[in-house]
């Protein structure tokens, strides 16, 4: 049986989420900014038409946005995460064979549905997601993941397609590949695209028809796989289970540069605590903890970067333990007189909670920690994030280094106090 994949991709996902609760912005240009209000990471079609580029730094386009009356939002991942969950849950009603590829993209394995009218199936799927969540999606279907990506891209671009494109006919596949520039092929990075262009390969179709010997000589394993996929031979399967993370990093740029140790300690405590929570969620413990600090490399100030790794006596996922060692690591690398722009905590050497080897010389009462963390998680579940924190994480008032979120929308779907109020 020939495999069959669908790629379901939410259109301008972050903007679509914001618009769901702002019907007044239906046809208006809207953009969403990255963390710290740095760059533009999502644009409505109207904003794209104004020539606003993806990834453009806010300070460069701020005047243009103002002049054109573009609505700006800071990113609200709480809202996007909830709507993303609703979208994938809706997709699960269609098939359990689903791989959540990113916050706004999922692959579906439709191999067993080959006998269906795929166009009608895809249209039905699209309408159901729209009805359940209000989020518009595009669907591309073909024999491999790479081809499904290409189908999806064209489904989005072409008015005629109406958000759905099924590529199962050889002629249609070839026509689609000819319309796809080499840099728009999944897995082809900018450097590779340059190299391909220099070698006379301009489109996906050119790459599909490249000579095997040439690909063998110049391509990596990944590239050979991409060529196979373009030829309709599936090399990438659906990954149903998300593998547990091998390492977890929590880092953020500061809204305002930080100079004093106290503020850095607060930030590091928050990041370490966040790592601990992520570890507990996947039932892992970490053996190694690393802290890094850095100054703003774009600023004309004294530059400093340093990091410190600590091996924990016993692998842990306790807030208390991780905060303790993270603070210790920070104190060793902190130097006075620099304007710090970013800091982070990385935990690695993860192992299942159940496999932790106890250390005879370690005097920490781990059972007590586990009970405490379980209690904290329960309180968090009931009362929301940050109901209980480690004192080192500081108070709300003290955080002038917090990421800037000037244009953030309410968490309409995840916080009771933020739900939409309708004046009737």
């Amino acid at each position: 049986m020939k495999p069959l994949f669908a790629l379901v991709d939410c259109n301008n996902f972050y903007v679509s989420c914001e618009r769901l609760f702002r019907p007044d912005l239906g046809k208006k240009p809207v953009v969403v900014l990255s963390n710290n209000d740095g760059c533009i990471i999502s644009r409505s079609d109207e904003a794209k038409a104004l020539g606003i580029k993806m990834g453009a730094p806010l300070f460069l386009v701020h005047d243009l946005l103002k002049k054109e009356g573009v609505h700006i939002f800071s990113s609200n991942y709480e809202l996007y995460g909830d709507l993303s969950f609703r979208v994938t849950e809706t997709l699960r009603q269609f098939t359990p064979q689903i791989e959540i590829y990113s916050i706004d993209e999922s692959f579906l394995d439709l191999t067993k549905y080959f006998f269906l009218n795929l166009k009608i199936y895809a249209e039905n799927l699209r309408n159901t997601v729209r009805k359940n969540t209000g989020i518009p999606v595009s669907v591309g279907i073909s024999y491999t993941k790479t081809l499904a990506k290409i189908a999806n891209r064209l489904a989005k671009k072409s008015e005629k397609a109406g958000g759905v494109l099924v590529l199962t006919d050889e002629r249609h596949i070839d026509a689609a590949l000819k319309r796809t520039a080499i840099e728009d092929v999944w897995g082809v990075g900018r450097q590779y695209a340059k190299f391909f262009r220099a070698s006379g390969i301009y489109t996906a179709h050119d790459l599909k028809n490249a000579q095997d010997a040439w690909i063998q000589k110049h391509g990596t394993v990944v590239m050979r796989r991409t060529v196979q996929e373009l030829r309709g031979i599936s090399c990438l399967d659906i990954e149903l289970m998300q593998p547990d993370k091998k390492g977890i990093c929590t880092s953020r740029s500061f809204g305002k540069s930080v100079t004093n140790l106290g503020a850095l300690q607060e930030a590091i405590a928050i990041y370490a605590s966040s790592c601990a929570k992520k570890l507990r969620k996947q039932k892992s413990c970490a053996k190694v903890l690393k802290v890094f600090v850095k100054t703003n490399k774009y600023a004309d100030t004294l530059q400093y970067f340093n990091s410190k790794e600590i091996i924990l006596p016993t692998a842990s996922n306790s807030d208390l333990e991780l905060v303790k060692y993270a603070t210790k690591a920070l104190n060793e690398i902190y130097k006075e007189g620099y304007l710090y722009k970013k800091a982070g905590v990385i935990v690695t050497e993860l192992m299942p909670e159940s496999n932790v080897q106890l250390n005879l010389l370690d005097t920490t009462d781990h059972l007590k920690h586990n009970n405490l963390m379980a209690a904290i998680d329960e309180i968090t579940r009931k009362l929301g994030k940050n109901a209980v924190t480690i004192a080192q994480q500081g108070t709300k008032e003290s955080k002038d280094w917090h990421p800037i979120k000037e244009y953030v929308s309410p968490c309409y779907t995840t916080r009771l106090k933020d739900i939409l109020t309708i004046h009737i």
Binding site: L358, L420, I424
Partner: protein, 166 residues
């Protein structure tokens, strides 16, 4: 109620009287908790005497979500401010569960967008005419005309309020 039961990967060989060697200790710690199994939980404790006759009945707690939002994926909550729907038992500050997936029918109470603003009204479909009817005689029904930007956002399925608020 459910509890999680750990599977031991291998049988533990630690029994009284055996001497411990290194391998035993490694196995002892090596309990695989990643493979958990759901089991029904019975309330009464095992003790000598008669078992509780209630043990034949599994314990489930009432899931209020089944009433408020049977379809959680497409249900959103909103709060109202205003008295235009008071006769439909929607007082000030009431929280509404709104199901986006339901197709709105005649006489449904709906959340809709009218020229860029949200409102909550009773939907009246008469032939080709569409009306939005308030449930308070102080207000007049709104005729929806083709030049208006009108869209049903979702259907109100549950109204929640604190009796003290009425």
């Amino acid at each position: 109620m459910l509890i999680y039961l750990a599977n031991t990967r291998k049988n533990m060989r630690l029994t009284a009287g055996n001497r411990l060697d290194e391998n035993d200790i490694i196995e002892f710690i090596n309990i695989d908790l990643t493979q958990s199994t759901c089991l029904p939980f019975y309330a009464s404790r095992i003790s000598a005497g008669f078992p509780s006759p209630a043990d034949n009945y599994l314990e489930f707690s009432i899931n209020i979500n089944e009433i408020i939002a049977p379809n959680p994926v497409s249900t959103f909550f909103v709060q109202v401010n205003g008295d235009s729907m008071i006769d439909a038992h929607i007082p000030q500050k009431a929280i509404l569960a709104v199901d986006k997936a339901l197709a709105a029918k005649h006489n449904d109470i709906v959340v809709c967008c009218l020229d860029g603003d949200f409102t909550v009204k009773r939907l009246i479909l008469e032939g080709k005419e569409v009306w939005l009817k308030p449930e308070n005689c102080k207000y007049r029904p709104i005729a929806v005309t083709p030049e208006m930007d009108f869209r049903v956002w979702g259907v109100v399925i549950t109204v929640m309020y604190n009796p003290k608020d009425i």
